[in-house]
Amino acid sequence: MLLIESDGKRLLQAHGIPVPASSLVIGQEDVAKLAAAHPSTPKIVKAQVPVGGRGKAGGVLRAESSAEAAAAATAMLGRHIKGHTVRACLIEEPIAGSEHYLALLVDAGSGGIRLLYSDAGGIDIEQAATTSGHMFDRLVRPDRNAFDAAISELEQTLDPTSASAIAACARQLGALFFDKELLLAEINPLFLRPNGQIVAGDAKIVIDLNAIERHDDLKSMLSGHRDWYPDAWRKIQEQFDFIELDAQGTIGLVTTGAGLSMMLLDELTEKGARPFNFCDVRTGQMRGDPSRLLAIFRWLKEAPNVRMVLINIFAGITDLAEFARTLVLALSQMPGWNPPIVARLIGNNEELAMEILRTQAPQIRFETDLEKAISLSTSMAQEANHA
């Protein structure tokens, strides 16, 4: 998952890579403080959301005064950019200098690590790299020695006046990349100031949640900003995936399997429905314990517009009868919450599951055909909306 820029920059700084002087604006108090500080100096106001192309989406603005910066931050806070709510803005001092590009990434196709550098950094880096052809691009084996050799090679191609500063930065970025088992560490732009110093203008750091248990510092970083990383934090706490997609969504999903859950979202949306969430509950790990279902039900209950719940479980191995009993148990612990529910259960022991739901939770509409369950849910959500 992609870290918020300010967290990414904290990691860079901790590994010796300088970043611009900055402050973080979270609430109105911070905005007031900002407006009062150094009134005449220009500032860059950046929405802290984990997406690419923030600048083009209006998430990065230059302000000529503190008052202007405060106004820009006020306008950005609470906005939605590509499905993410802006919960903070980073206010930075503009940096003068040439713009470069430096990145290290896991190259999934080859199973190696790529080191990329260009002296034509900035928002159109991909285009600049292809048109000018000036991109240092080395694919190496995934170990530190091979990576160090690539940096030495890079250093020899650079202008002697800046070579050592850029190579040193690449070494620091490499140490961060391997120490924290990152998937991507990208700095764009990487400023080279007239005095020869480098400063990271941005930080795009993708961490590996699969490795989080080996990195307490990253875990506490996420823990410190649970509202910035609600989806990741939920995954760490609950050991399954639940991702809010549309805060105003009307259909709550209880599903298992990432691919089928994504496809279901696509098909519901295609039919004009508004699913609230993505979910991969991993029924195989539940073993009769209702706590995962209860967690989901509580989140759906808190959602302002969820009108109905669609459950979809394709059970290759999981015993659906056990799932049905667990579902009944979870619902019995949610008094006062009675949304219409469609349960599409198919596979191992489905007849017994149907019987359990019919006798113990007759309010649930049982379906074996997914197409029918989708149509039914879509119309139920719309009816409830008009009611």
């Binding site: 084996r141 699969n210 490795a211 399997g257 994504m262 993505f278 394709f314």
Partner: protein
């Protein structure tokens, strides 16, 4: 490698004494897989349901296992793969979800250096219908037939293959390549193998947003050409940017890994791309399911 697999292929299970290992060993045997030995990393020996258990793959070498199914927790997979490679195993299937990507990089390097085939991580495994399966693809969705299936997702392939087998179209082979970004076998590696099977008369790719595996497959297909129809279904049009959608590999950033990029590349390569499961199943069943061209 797929053409070498049948009900005689000797298979070893690493992590056989765990809950998962024991359950799926039974189910695989029931399907017809020839399981010859198990390894317990707890150093346990004796047997599990009559299958001899050893402390390491090397200790089980007398059974000459060709393939291993690794059923240990994600953080122990790398060590298990090392053990399997040392014992000369030729095909390793790792089902665990949640293997750190840097571990996967090392596993990939080790298996590539040793010339060993690796399927996974985060996969339900593979199946040669009617002969054997490695992993836990559900029997209800498996049927022998003409379709070579490869999928990033387990559940989406269960659903699609279930509907297809109901419509009379089974599989020549079905391989879960897995939902992680760094893996042992990618779509473009698997496609020629599936195509080479004599029973295969069409290919089905079930992809997901994130990464560039579908695009890579499209480019290799375009270069190679195909004598048989290729179908595709890609999940994740509604994926949220910057967040992994359940699978570590399903991560969209900027335009990279988007569904648009995948659809365009596949269509350009002549692949029949469908938007919904229903359309896909209807199209494939229309061509392969019934009528004079039906495979028997």
């Amino acid at each position: 490698m797929l053409e070498l697999l049948d009900s005689n292929t000797p298979v070893l299970i690493q992590g056989i004494s765990g809950r998962m290992g024991r359950l799926h060993t039974g189910l695989m045997r029931q399907y017809g897989t020839n399981i010859v030995a198990g390894v317990s990393m707890r150093g346990q020996d004796g047997d599990v349901d009559g299958i001899p258990v050893y402390p390491s793959c090397s200790a089980a070498q007398q059974h000459r296992p060709f393939a291993s199914v690794v059923m240990v927790p994600p953080l122990r997979v790398m060590q298990a793969v090392e053990d399997a490679i040392d014992a000369g195993i030729r095909l390793i299937v790792t089902v665990a979800e949640g293997i750190p990507v840097h571990d996967a990089l090392r596993i990939r390097q080790m298996t590539a250096d040793a010339g060993v085939s690796w399927i996974g991580p985060s996969t339900p495994g593979l199946c040669i219908p009617g002969k054997m399966k490695l992993g836990f693809l559900p029997d209800v969705s498996i049927a022998p037939g003409p379709l070579g299936v490869m999928s990033k997702s387990g559940t989406l392939s269960y659903e699609v293959c279930y509907r297809l087998s109901q419509a009379g179209v089974g599989q020549s082979a079905w391989v879960g390549v897995g939902g992680d970004p760094v893996k042992g076998t990618r779509f473009s590696d698997m496609a020629p193998e599936l195509t080479a099977l004599s029973a295969t008369r069409a290919l089905l790719l079930i992809g997901e947003v994130g990464g560039d595996e579908e695009e890579e497959f499209a480019h290799s297909l375009q270069a190679r050409g195909s004598d048989i129809p290729v179908y595709a279904l890609i999940a994740g049009k509604q994926a949220k940017e910057g967040v992994s959608m359940g699978h570590a590999g399903a991560l969209v950033m900027g335009g990279k890994g988007s569904i648009v990029s995948k659809h365009e590349a596949l269509k350009k390569a002549g692949v029949e791309v469908h938007q919904t499961m229903h359309e896909l199943v209807a199209a494939i069943a229309g061509r392969l399911g019934t009528g004079p061209t039906a495979h028997t």
